[in-house]
Chain length 654, copies 2
């Protein structure tokens, strides 16, 4: 053993946040405060000094901020993340003999002991600090040590001078300091990674007349509609050329008819692949024009990263080594027995040639970043290796910390959560299939009250081009309203696939199937946006409520409140300072009126249960005056299946 | 990036047991099964093979055992620890393409697909395994591949042959295997580390006549008494020479009178220190004789390791560098403001000379091991650095894995638990101060239901020479019975300081103090073991019950049962196979009769609530026949404040 080993007396343990033993970063938004707790303790009864260290990945030197004692051994420190990218944080702690001395000194004084020897010890400690100090501080410390050494009344006053304490602390002996054995990380994203309303649509279905392939110019004309609905992000399925070999027909027919456009996810044709634009949509210039038009409307465009190829993709010809071959020499098309995707070849991420493939895919991402895209929805990331995503997201994040990646993984929880841990900014969830009060409460408690809240940012979709749930099929227009309000208020981020959603499209391919009939994946649709059943008005209203209520812009302030009717889900969201409190009540039954009593934890929401509460229903713009935690709720799905109240303390009536 | 990085597709996560991210070992007893769980998953839908690897610290090569799928991604494997010392364990996992193929194959068959291509793929996989095999296995695999390649009816049968599956698995391609990134440890102790009844006494108080200093020969004559009471370990406070400088008098008086023997914890006089025996007790030969006599009675002797010195210890003269000096040059005696221990100098474990001190203390431990001692109670380990204990316990454990260390740390939980994590075999607890039902339930739930159960082995002491609790002072003889039954049945390990305990000695130094009046720490006492209030009979009975009921020999099978009277504590202990079920009911009120109803979770105890239960009270040897979970308990502390039932399923009455 070495003397240095023998000298470290402080232990740093149970650091929080720390994901899976420090293997994965937590996530924050620029401007956030990162609060770090730890148990810090040593043998004996010595006082301990403790600092939280942090630095941006581009900084070399640690910044330090003290960690204050909460109770027993628990310490807390905090720092603000004011730059995008990754931060590192860790903890350092060391014995503080002067603080120990001060605490003992008070006890010796109380016990009426002779304190001359104690003051001599203090003088020694202060002189030792002086030896580590320079300039004026050294002079000050030397003088203080001399005053302590005098062991008179002035010495006692000197000992208790808080300025002396902080000066001695500044020149602490850190030679025996314990550095926590892990450096932890924070990924700092921009605000849109935490909160955004997404709208997915197929640009090819935006032509003004039926039967025509929509263009980026058509899509540009659709943007004001999306902006007026109040969305932040408009997301397009792949915009690349589509293969012709084994192209699928309408409703996933094995063979395409003459006019069938094929699935946009069967990417690549001729010499054009993932960095090209489908000629029927337009050119790169048109795309740039579209991006600018979106920007002018405060809309951001998200593209789809689907790392797979049609049999006609140039990679197939130029890089046959990137594909797995069968024993007969043919490339194996995608399959998930007994399903077959003959129009798609998966890439093989783990062959000896994988490094070149990985670099090429990074180039593709960089290409679109170069065009001005900063948000990507990633198709099926769970069918590519974790190591690939960890590498890609880290590399892109280093160069472009403003880029946001949404993980479209519908698979087992471990895999979904691991992808988030590896760096995906947001993740699709099981929301589409969580319908009952118990299901919703359990799932959102897991997402917002466990360690997942530190790194898994849910993005809630009531539908997607692949998902038309039985709840929507069976529940009619009210079901769409219910699922919309839930998505937009349970999740700081949510999305709909439209216009199918707002037009309440609800015909499945076949009974019991989750696929849409006449899915836009395989054909061009023309939508009448003015259909009377359109949810346009309520969508616009809820998105406005989201923008004006910061409580709805984060996931962590969620709290469920008990009701005596299990068809009623009641929850609140509040900002950390309780300055904004939103209470949502939803009738989960799309067919019948439901009513019941709810018990609100008012004081947990920062409201005084003894004083009246004003509940302003932001959906209907009606105001109610409540007294106490127990309130009656009745919701008729045929009228409006939800309340979204803003709660404030009302003035006492005179 | 390197190809090797790109190829690892399997993730191993959430391994259990794993203490604080793998920093600390778990503990087991020789012969135990170590069960290890983990989430093991990969991208895509490939099947995964997974093995638990383990090796004793003296072995170089890993042993492997497969980890079976529990549900979703959760795997479980197990191994038996059949040697003392440390084991390492970790996990390795790799994709299993043949298992994937088999699962897909079944689906293709069901879907009525042409399976010739599938069989060709299988032939390829089996041939690849053949290339990795040798001898007869290679021939077998080649033949199987040929049969698969034939793609006829025989090929389908061949594909499903379980022998082929295991042969292919034996020659799996592990080139892309993922090794879990931590190697975890198990400390394997002998049975006495898990379960023992300790009896502490001062050998100097065992002389047959009052006023004489007891000797090892006297102590040897006391051994049959201790053995008859049913104890396993007899523990002596320090047996070394005691200093004269600043020796304390009776009742901790600052100055000793002429005949005062001093505190045994003020170790060292003249040329004799921690490796010497107090001359009034006897010689090393006498000690060896005593050890042999104990062994003959199946009693094991535990010594006290108190790493501190009297001012007369030879270290003070020979190694002044091992002590901290004050500014006036004097060595600082021990203090805990405002308390002073002028008869004791603490050692300074963190000076530049610490390595030599550490080595010397190891020599002391080795010396007593050389004399035949295998159990040490360690005095105040929390006042010495964690790094010292980690080093000492690891070093001694490597050379003498049968040695047991009991940590006497009464301090904050983090520190007590950290000492256990560093390697102490057992630990003192807060048991002495946990009196109410809520206190006992909370504390023992924490100790036995959280991760603490993996490494913190409690040893419960109702009293020690330093601790005479208010509960014992105020409660009379019944209080002693209650605390004894609780200690001996809540804890697989417990101890009493006798004869003070069994003779119900309950006079404190002063009202409200926890110190004994006329404490044996400062004077020699003569005890009349035949006093009528002696707990001899009940102690003997309870220790017999412990020996014949394996459920009481472990801590993990503890379960609390609700009662409607908070003065009644009802708990059960059962073996993992539910072959032995012990139910304990204790009246926590030493003064009054208490009664109430209890609800037993019978099915959790492996008992059928629908059939009659025989409850055999092992304390009173009475038998009761119960039906159903709800039972009435009434306990009169003046008669017997506890039941210890053995529960069995009774035959149905005819």
């Amino acid at each position: 053993m070495q003397p240095s080993e023998t000298a470290q007396r402080v232990a740093v343990a149970h650091v929080w946040p720390e994901i899976e033993g420090g293997r994965f970063p937590i996530k924050r938004i620029i401007g956030d405060v990162v609060t770090v707790d730890a148990d810090v303790f040593a043998d004996g009864h010595d006082a301990i000094a403790c600092a939280l260290r942090f630095r941006h990945q581009r900084e070399r030197r640690w910044n330090e901020t003290p960690m204050a004692l909460l109770s027993n051994d628990r310490r807390r420190g905090a720092f603000v993340v004011d730059q995008l990218g990754r931060y590192h944080y860790t903890i350092v702690a060391w014995p503080d003999p002067f603080a120990t001395w001060l605490s003992d000194f008070a006890k010796w004084l109380n016990a009426g002991n002779d304190i001359r020897m104690q003051l001599a010890i203090a003088a020694e400690l202060v002189n030792a600090a002086a030896a580590r100090a320079r300039g004026a501080d050294r002079t000050t410390l030397r003088a203080a040590a001399a005053r302590l050494g005098a062991a008179d009344d002035g010495a006692v006053a000197q000992a208790r001078d808080p300025d002396l304490q902080s000066l001695v602390a500044r020149y602490a002996d850190r030679s025996t300091a314990t550095a926590y054995d892990r450096e932890l990380e924070v990924i700092v994203d921009r605000e849109r990674a935490r909160c955004a309303a997404w709208y997915e649509l197929f640009p090819r279905s935006t032509a003004p007349t039926p039967g025509r392939h929509g263009t980026f110019a058509d899509m540009e004309r659709r943007l004001p509609y999306v902006a007026e609905l109040g969305f932040d992000v408009v997301y397009f399925p792949p915009i690349h050329p589509i293969g012709v070999t084994n192209r699928k027909g309408k409703n996933n027919a094995p063979f395409a008819g003459p006019g069938d456009p094929g699935s946009p996810w069967a990417i690549g044709a001729g010499s054009c692949g993932h960095d090209a634009i489908h000629p029927d949509l337009g050119t790169l210039d048109d795309f740039a024009h579209l991006l600018a038009a979106a920007r002018a409307l405060d809309l951001e465009v998200a593209l789809d990263l689907a790392f797979q190829c049609s049999p006609d993709h140039p990679y197939v010809r130029d890089h046959p080594e990137w594909f797995r071959r069968r024993s007969d020499g043919a490339i194996q098309f995608a399959e998930n027995p007994p399903k077959k995707y003959e129009d798609i070849y998966p890439l093989d991420f783990t062959t000896i040639s994988a490094p070149a493939l990985w670099e090429e895919l990074r180039r593709v991402v960089e290409f679109w970043i170069g065009q001005g895209v900063r948000i990507f929805r990633v198709d099926n990331p769970h069918t590519k290796p974790f190591t690939f995503w960890q590498w890609l997201l880290t590399e892109i994040g280093r160069a472009h910390p403003d880029v946001i990646f949404l993980s479209e993984a519908f698979t087992r929880p471990n895999i979904m959560y691991r992808l988030a841990a590896l760096g995906f900014s947001q993740s699709y969830t099981y929301f589409a299939w969580r319908n009952t009060r118990a299901e919703l409460t359990d799932y959102f408690t897991e997402l917002t009250q466990t360690s997942l809240r530190e790194y898994f940012r849910p993005n809630l979709w009531p539908n997607t081009p692949d998902i038309l749930t039985a709840y929507l099929v069976d529940g009619g227009r009210s079901a769409f309203v219910i699922r919309f309000v839930l998505a937009a208020t349970l999740g700081a981020s949510y999305g709909i696939y439209g216009p199918a959603f707002e037009l309440c499209e609800a015909t499945p391919l076949a009974a019991g199937k989750e696929e849409y009939l006449n899915s836009e994946k395989f054909e061009i649709r023309h939508w009448d946006l003015d259909r009377p059943e359109s949810l346009r008005e309520i969508i616009t209203r809820v998105n406005t409520i989201r923008r004006t209520n910061p409580a709805l812009q984060a996931d962590v302030g969620l709290r469920f409140h008990p009701t005596d009717n299990e068809n009623l889900l009641v929850y609140s969201k509040s900002t950390p300072d309780a300055g904004n409190v939103v209470l949502v009540a939803v009738n989960l039954d799309p067919l019948w009126v439901q009513s019941g009593w709810t018990d609100l934890s008012l004081s947990a929401l920062g409201l005084d249960p003894a004083r009246p509460i004003e509940a302003h229903d932001l959906l209907t713009d009606t105001r109610h005056r409540w007294r106490g935690p127990r309130n009656f709720v009745q919701l008729d799905p045929a009228v409006m299946p939800a309340h979204i109240f803003r709660l404030t303390q009302a003035p006492e009536a005179r």
